[in-house]
C-alpha cells in the first residue's frame, strides 16, 4: 500500500513505473570504464535532476521502480509509488537472472493499485506509463513470459497503461517487442542519461496535456540507436 500524503499536493498525477533489468549481465564494464548498472544509476540520478528543474512535472509525476534480478535474484518492488518531489535517486546493483515476466506483472499490479490509491484520494491522473529496460531476455518459464505478454497487451489495448520497451546492447529485441504494440527502441551505447532526460521531458508533456490535445513527445534521437 502506498502511504503518499496527498493533502499537500492536489495536482493531477502522471504515474510512471520503471522496470529495470539489474541482472548479472548489467555488471559488464562498458567503454567508459563504468559498468552498465552504474550507467543506469547515473541515468536515474539525471531523471531526478531533470524533474526537479521542471516545476510542473515535479508536482505531477509519480514514480515507482521494479527491479528484475539484482542481489535478490528475483523481481520485486524496489520503490513503491513516490511523488517526484519525494524521489531521491539511489544506486542499483546488478546480479542474478532476468525474471522479466514477473517484473512486468508486478508493475502492472502496481499500476492498478496506484490508480486505486489516487482515486481514493480524489486525485485525477493521466494514463500511467511503464518503461521496461533490459539488456537480455527473460529467464522466466516460457509460459510465464507468454502470460506476462498477454497481460501487457491486454492492459495496453484496454488503455490501462502506455508501455515503452527499451533494449540495451545484448537485448533480444524480438522478445521485448512482444510486450507492446509499439516497437521497442534500442539504446545507443550507454546513453542512459539522455534516455532519462527524454523520459523526464516526456512525462512533463504528458502531465500538462489536456483532453483532446495532441501530445508531442520530444525526439528520441539523443539516445536511440538509429542503426536498428
Amino acid at each position: 500500500m502506498s502511504s503518499i500524503d496527498y493533502s499537500g499536493n492536489p495536482n493531477q498525477r502522471t504515474p510512471c513505473v520503471l522496470v529495470l533489468d539489474a541482472s548479472g549481465s548489467m555488471s559488464s564494464v562498458t567503454s567508459s570504464g563504468r559498468t552498465r548498472i552504474e550507467e543506469l544509476s547515473a541515468g536515474i540520478a539525471a531523471l531526478e535532476k531533470e524533474l526537479r528543474s521542471d516545476d510542473t512535472a515535479l508536482v505531477r509525476v509519480q514514480l515507482a521502480i521494479v527491479n528484475v534480478g539484482g542481489p535478490s535474484n528475483d523481481a520485486d518492488i524496489m520503490m513503491d509509488w513516490t511523488d517526484a518531489t519525494e524521489f531521491h535517486a539511489f544506486p542499483l546493483r546488478a546480479d542474478g537472472t532476468t525474471p522479466l515476466a514477473k517484473g512486468v506483472r508486478i508493475a502492472l499490479q502496481m499500476i492498478e493499485q496506484g490508480k486505486q490509491n489516487l482515486r481514493a484520494a480524489g486525485i485525477s491522473y493521466t494514463r500511467p506509463w511503464m518503461m521496461v529496460i533490459s539488456d537480455g531476455e527473460p529467464t522466466d518459464d516460457a509460459n510465464d513470459w507468454a502470460a506476462a505478454v498477454s497481460e501487457c497487451r491486454a492492459a495496453e489495448v484496454g488503455k490501462r497503461v502506455e508501455i515503452f520497451a527499451i533494449g540495451v546492447e545484448g537485448a533480444n529485441l524480438s522478445t521485448l517487442s512482444q510486450i507492446s504494440a509499439k516497437p521497442p527502441l534500442m539504446l545507443s551505447g550507454m546513453k542512459f542519461q539522455e534516455l532519462f532526460v527524454w523520459l523526464s521531458a516526456s512525462l512533463s508533456a504528458a502531465s500538462r496535456s489536456r483532453p483532446g490535445d495532441s501530445m508531442q513527445l520530444p525526439s528520441t534521437d539523443p539516445w536511440r540507436n538509429v542503426g536498428l
Partner: protein, 411 residues
C-alpha cells in the same frame, strides 16, 4: 408574436496554444432564439486538437443542434413535454452523425471528434444536453419581484465527463457516444452559463463551482440595455483577457443567458454543494460490449512519439462488422431512450407534489404555464427548488472515473 424574455451572448476565442501553433479555433458555439422569444437554445462544441477537421465539425454541430433545439421548442408550443423530447434529441444527434459520415465519405468520423454542451432554456425550465467535458451551470435569481440577479442563490451544475484519465474526454463522434450522453431536465432558471473546458477553466474554480469574479461581469453585461454585438463583445473580452492565458492555453467558449427583466447582478457564488444535474442512468449501459475488445473507447490525448514509437489507434472499430456496430448502436439507443423515458416520466412529468413545492417557494404559481412540468427536477422531499441535496440522485459515473481536483499549477 415575439416577446423576448431573455438576453443572451456567446463567444469562442482561440487559445494561446492554438495561436502559437497557427491552428484555427476548434471551439464553436451557436445561440438561437425561438420565434416567440420564450426559448433560447445554446450550444458549445469543442473540436479535438487531435482531429484534423474538428473545427468544421464543432461549427456544424453547434449550428445544427441549436436549430434542432429551437425546433423542439417550437413543438413544445404545440404539444405537452414528454418522452418525445428525449427521442427527438437523440434522433437529432444520430442525424448529425450521419451527416458527418457523409462529409467524411467514410464510416470513420474520428477526424471530426468534438464534444457537445447544450441547453434549451424556456420560461419555466428546459433541458440540458451534455456529452464530454465542458460544463453547464445556472440558477434562479432570488425573489421573483426583485430585479437583481442574486448570485448567492443555490445553483445547479452539469459537470464535465472525462474518461478515466485527466487528459482524456469523450466525444459525440465516438462509436459509444450514446453511453455518455446526458440529457437532463432543467428547473426554472433565471440565468445559465455553458461552455467548453477552455471556457470553464476561466469560469469555474477547478471544475468544481462557478467563479464569481469571472461570471459576475459576464452576467452583468447581459443585464445592460445594449445591442447584441456589445453583449457578445463583453464575453469575448472576458475570454481574451491576457490573464486568462495563465489558466488555460486551450480554445475558450462560453454562452450565457439571463432573463431580460433583471437589471443588475449582486452577491457571490456560495461554496456549497450544487444541485448536481441528474444524468440519464447509464450504469446499466456500462457493461454493454460495443466492440470486440469489450473496452470503452475513450479518446485520449494522442501520444505522438517520434521515431518509430507510434501509439496505435484502437482497431476494434475496424474489426467490428457494420451490421454488428449498427445493431449495437440501435440496442443502446433503445436502452437509453427507454431509460430516459421512464426516468423523465416517473420523476418529472408526473411529479405534481414537486411542482407545488417549487411554485410555493417561488410564489409565481400563476406565472408558470400549465406545461411547466418539464422544468421541475426537484424532489417532493425538499422545498428548495434549487437547493440542498435531499432526494437528488447523485451522478453515476463509471467505476474508473475520477474527480478532477483543483489543479494549482495548470498552465
Amino acid at each position: 408574436m415575439k416577446s423576448p424574455i431573455w438576453n443572451f451572448a456567446s463567444a469562442s476565442v482561440r487559445g494561446a496554444s492554438h495561436i502559437a501553433n497557427g491552428t484555427t479555433c476548434q471551439d464553436s458555439n451557436a445561440i438561437r432564439e425561438s420565434d416567440d422569444g420564450l426559448w433560447v437554445a445554446m450550444v458549445a462544441s469543442d473540436g479535438a486538437g487531435t482531429a484534423n477537421k474538428s473545427d468544421v465539425s464543432s461549427k456544424f454541430v453547434a449550428h445544427e443542434f441549436a436549430e434542432a433545439l429551437v425546433a423542439i421548442a417550437s413543438d413544445l408550443a404545440k404539444r405537452p413535454p414528454g418522452p418525445w423530447v428525449t427521442d427527438a434529441i437523440i434522433e437529432h444527434i444520430v442525424g448529425m452523425r450521419k451527416q458527418l459520415r457523409s462529409m467524411a465519405k467514410s464510416d470513420d468520423i474520428s477526424s471530426f471528434h468534438c464534444t457537445l454542451v447544450a441547453a434549451l432554456v424556456g420560461p419555466s425550465g428546459g433541458i440540458t444536453i451534455h456529452l464530454g467535458d465542458g460544463a453547464v451551470f445556472g440558477a434562479q435569481s432570488g425573489p421573483t419581484a426583485s430585479k437583481a440577479l442574486d448570485l448567492s442563490q443555490d445553483y445547479l451544475l452539469s459537470l464535465p465527463q472525462n474518461g478515466e484519465y485527466a487528459n482524456e474526454t469523450v466525444f459525440m463522434t465516438e462509436r459509444d457516444w450514446v453511453k455518455h450522453l446526458r440529457i437532463e431536465p432543467l428547473p426554472a432558471v433565471d440565468w445559465l452559463v455553458l461552455g467548453t473546458d477552455g471556457g470553464m477553466a476561466l469560469a469555474m474554480v477547478g471544475e468544481k463551482r462557478p467563479k464569481s469574479g469571472f461570471i459576475k461581469p459576464v452576467l452583468e453585461a447581459l443585464t445592460l440595455r445594449c445591442d447584441q454585438a456589445t453583449r457578445d463583445a463583453a464575453i469575448h473580452n472576458s475570454l481574451s483577457d491576457k490573464q486568462a492565458d495563465r489558466l488555460t492555453n486551450d480554445d475558450k467558449t462560453l454562452c450565457a443567458v439571463v432573463r431580460s427583466k433583471l437589471t443588475h447582478v449582486e452577491g457571490a457564488i456560495q461554496e456549497r454543494v450544487p444541485v448536481t444535474v441528474v444524468p440519464v442512468p447509464t450504469a446499466s449501459l456500462a457493461s454493454l460490449n460495443f466492440g470486440s475488445t469489450g473496452t470503452p473507447l475513450f479518446k485520449q490525448a494522442d501520444v505522438n512519439v517520434p521515431d518509430g514509437l507510434i501509439v496505435p489507434k484502437s482497431k476494434s472499430v475496424m474489426r467490428m462488422s457494420v451490421s454488428r456496430r449498427e445493431m449495437a448502436l440501435l440496442a443502446s439507443l433503445l436502452m437509453v431512450g427507454v431509460g430516459a423515458v421512464i426516468y423523465l416520466y416517473l420523476n418529472l412529468f408526473k411529479s405534481p407534489s414537486a411542482v407545488v413545492s417549487v411554485t410555493k417557494v417561488r410564489g409565481v404559481a400563476e406565472s408558470i404555464p400549465a406545461r411547466s412540468t418539464i422544468s421541475v427536477q426537484v424532489t417532493a422531499a425538499t422545498d428548495k427548488p434549487l437547493g440542498g441535496n435531499e432526494g437528488t440522485v447523485k451522478t453515476e459515473r463509471d467505476a474508473d472515473t475520477v474527480t478532477t481536483p483543483d489543479q494549482t499549477t495548470k498552465p
